[in-house]
């Protein structure tokens, strides 16, 4: 008789992401954070004067602010040991052939060039602190869509109107005073993408930016600024990964999204940072009248994560939907969720999340729904489900609601539990082995979120959520 297979839900298979390249960076600032370092980064980036001043003010704010007194501990993150700027030994190119071999190999292993050829309208690839590749399809560019590096656009390399657009939008939604790591970002940000979709333009296939952090002990602080103008639509995909080192790495990126009147933006993220990463990322969207924001978020990597994309439904009849999944395995403390603020009338939001904790992993769902006094006839729904796969793990839900108008309709539900014995019994009564039944249930639990992820990301998703369904759970 064949040996019975053990049922065991594997951790995410990280072998694809854990390869490292030899460090051949051209320049890096000293570790730590000082005014001199900020000045040096500003020089390196050839910042306009307003940005140089902005960085220094952000540093002042950073020095005044306290680290959060809620959420996972970040005591082991020592900013004195973090290098905030690492320039790889290359320049940005619009041709993969011009990207240095080792960096190109990295992105090829991650499947980025292939994905671009098959199903993306444009790709940006950042390696450590700089973009090494940026390209957009001709037919998309011909529609007037700008998809470029943020720094070039800020310096007016793609037109003065975009430089002005950046000046009026940069860190206006997420201000340096928001929290300590937003201030840090404001001081040392580097790299990232700028997207402008003109009025009425619908970008049919997605744009994608991929962020890779190779240098040990470094931080990545890319800034993504997307403006989708009136009646336009866009799907933007963001991916990130890093090899694992024994020293802490830090990611404190910032994403600011402006969705115009009757415009639509879907922002999909697969986050698979290595398990030495502190992922303290800030994402925020502001939606004008009739606009639609859709977030799809998968959090699989990082040692510690603080990630709560926020949506401000400013315009009447605007709406948002957040779909997220978090998988916390051994050594991970992932604090994820979403925030929404309803300001406009007849606005609606729906937050739907799933989380899985195993092997001592800690998963926390944290959310806030705020409905202001003016947001008459607004609706909000929050649903979070958590699955515990063993007794070493931990799963918490902390959803907050603050409602300031009687003309609101708010519903919330949350469930925490393990795999139901009844469901297993039902499947077994249909001739399925216990092990397979448990495996199917776990797979099904994750499925309704993963199906929202873009097909173009299927390859990466398959590598990420290797929920090995053979063997037993718990």
């Amino acid at each position: 008789m064949a040996e019975k297979e053990k049922t065991y839900v594997q951790d995410v298979d990280r072998s694809l992401y854990d390869f490292r390249n030899e460090e051949k960076d051209a320049y890096r600032v000293k570790s730590g954070l000082t005014s001199d370092i900020v000045e040096k980064i500003s020089e390196e980036k050839k910042d306009p004067e307003w940005m140089r001043i902005f960085r220094h003010k952000a540093l002042e704010t950073y020095n005044k602010m306290e680290i959060p007194d809620w959420g996972p501990s970040i005591d082991e993150l020592d900013m004195d040991n973090i290098v905030t700027y690492v320039r790889p030994n290359t320049h940005m190119s619009a041709k993969w052939s011009e990207v240095p071999e080792d960096i190109k190999d990295t992105f090829e292993k991650l499947g980025i060039p292939q994905a671009e050829r098959k199903s993306l309208a444009g790709v940006g690839a950042q390696y450590d602190s700089e973009l090494v590749y940026h390209n957009v399809r001709e037919e998309v560019a011909a529609q007037g869509v700008i998809y470029s590096d943020l720094e070039g656009a800020m310096r007016g390399e793609y037109g003065e109107q975009y430089a002005e657009m950046i000046r009026t939008h940069f860190m206006k939604l997420v201000t340096p005073g928001d929290h300590k790591f937003a201030a840090l970002h404001g001081a040392v940000w580097s790299g990232g993408s700028f997207v402008y979709v003109p009025k009425g333009v619908s970008v049919e296939i997605p744009l994608q930016s991929y962020f890779r952090l190779n240098a040990p002990g470094a931080g990545q602080f890319e800034h993504t600024l997307i403006i989708v103008d009136e009646g336009a639509s866009l799907h933007f995909i963001e991916g990130c990964s890093a090899p694992k080192y024994n020293v802490a790495n830090l990611h404190a990126g910032c994403v600011e999204l402006f969705v115009g009147k009757n415009a639509k933006l879907r922002y999909s993220t697969i986050e698979n940072w290595s398990k030495n990463m502190y992922n303290l990322n800030t994402k925020r969207a502001q939606i004008a009248e009739g606009g639609v924001m859709e977030w799809v978020s998968g959090s699989f990597g990082s040692h510690v994560s603080y990630l709560y994309p926020m949506t401000v439904l400013k315009g009447d009849n605007s709406r948002m939907e957040f779909t997220g999944i978090t998988f916390a395995g051994r050594g991970q403390n992932l604090d994820t969720g979403a925030k929404v603020v309803h300001i406009g009338k007849n606005t609606s939001s729906y937050i739907n999340t799933k989380s899985i904790s195993k092997d001592g992993g800690i998963s926390t769902f944290r959310s806030s729904v705020v409905i202001g006094a003016q947001a008459k006839h607004s609706k909000a729904g929050v649903s979070c489900q958590s699955l515990m796969l063993d007794e070493e793990s931990r799963s918490d839900t902390i959803p907050a609601m603050d409602i300031r108008t009687p003309d609101a309709d708010v519903g919330h539900e949350a469930k925490i539990g393990r795999i139901s014995d009844e469901a297993v019994f039902y499947l077994m009564s249909r001739g399925i082995s216990e092990e397979d039944a448990r495996a199917m249930i776990v797979s099904g639990f994750a499925d309704n979120v993963s199906k929202e992820l873009p097909l173009e990301y299927a390859v990466e998703m398959n590598n990420l959520i290797q929920l090995e369904m053979k063997g037993s759970i718990g």
């Binding site: 515990m388 007794e391 539900e413």
Partner: protein, 376 residues
Amino acid sequence: MGQGIDMTVNRLPARTWNWLKMNESRLTDVKIEKACPVTPVVTGHGTTWERVSAEKIQSEQTENGFAWKNLVTGMGPDMDRLAEEDEQAQVDVITAEAGADEDNMAVFDYECQPGERYFNRLYLHAKENSVLNVTVLYRSAGAGEGLSAHQIKVCAEKNAVVRIYMAEILDAGVTCLSDLGGVCEDNARVELVKLELGAGKLYSGGEIDLKGKASNFTAGIGYTAKPGQHLDMNYTARHHGKKTESLMEVSGVVSENAFKIFRGTIDFIAGCAGSKGTESEDVLLLGEELVNQTIPLILCAEEDVEGNHGASIGKLDDQTLFYLASRGIPKEEAEKMLARARVDALNARIPVKSVRDTVEAYLGGGDEADDEEEEK
């Protein structure tokens, strides 16, 4: 009595964003003067009342390690600190012996005088295999400012049942601090019915530690946040024992210019295998300029549990309003009627008629059918 003290109360068991201002509440310069005079009415065989010095009871510890002073309460340790401000304080202790009458009852009717600042302590001790029923009413003798602070601690020994019925109908000038903490041993049960109806500012908390195997906590909490009123609540069911169960059902109304926060936590501690916890809040919003904050937590360090929470917040749905309108009931009256129904349902569960009637009178309108039923 000394100077007033600054207090931090109703701490959320797991903190969240500070900008939400939900993590805790702060009170400044809180002063107490004395206990509100009360003579409880205790009926039923096997149930006793004694008034003992707080100093004495706080120093006591039973053979199995139980000590009243170690009981954690919902409002937190600052309530103990406030209580200690009264050096002459006494504690009312109600004890139910094994075999006590099932329909025993201890009734505490605290009538607060305007201008006074009270702190009362009540300890409930249900010994093994006993049942203990307690009804507590907090009311004002007249309009005026004042403080009514009270703390109830509960010890439910093995197989014991403690039923607590509380109604608070204090005057709008009064600040009320209403604190509860308890522990359940094996197979013990605490049932709480609580109406938060009065006081201009109300801070209320409860925490039950389900320490024993198969112990159980149920709470039915009703509130009406009237115009200008401030309600701040924090309730926790902490599951330590295996196969423990908790059910917290909260229902209330938030009116114009009122503020209300309800924090409800189900905490599954590692080792509480087979436990279940459910919490729900149903809030009816009436009027403008209101603030309703709801934060229901599930903290889970055990795999083999079931935790659920749900919240429904909003105005009356159109379907209900249409149905009532088709029966000739206008919107305003329908809202009033359904708001009242939430409180009435809980008031009907208070077994002491005089207390029920007092609450009815406070709310306006009596219940004649109820009177007739009682007379029979």
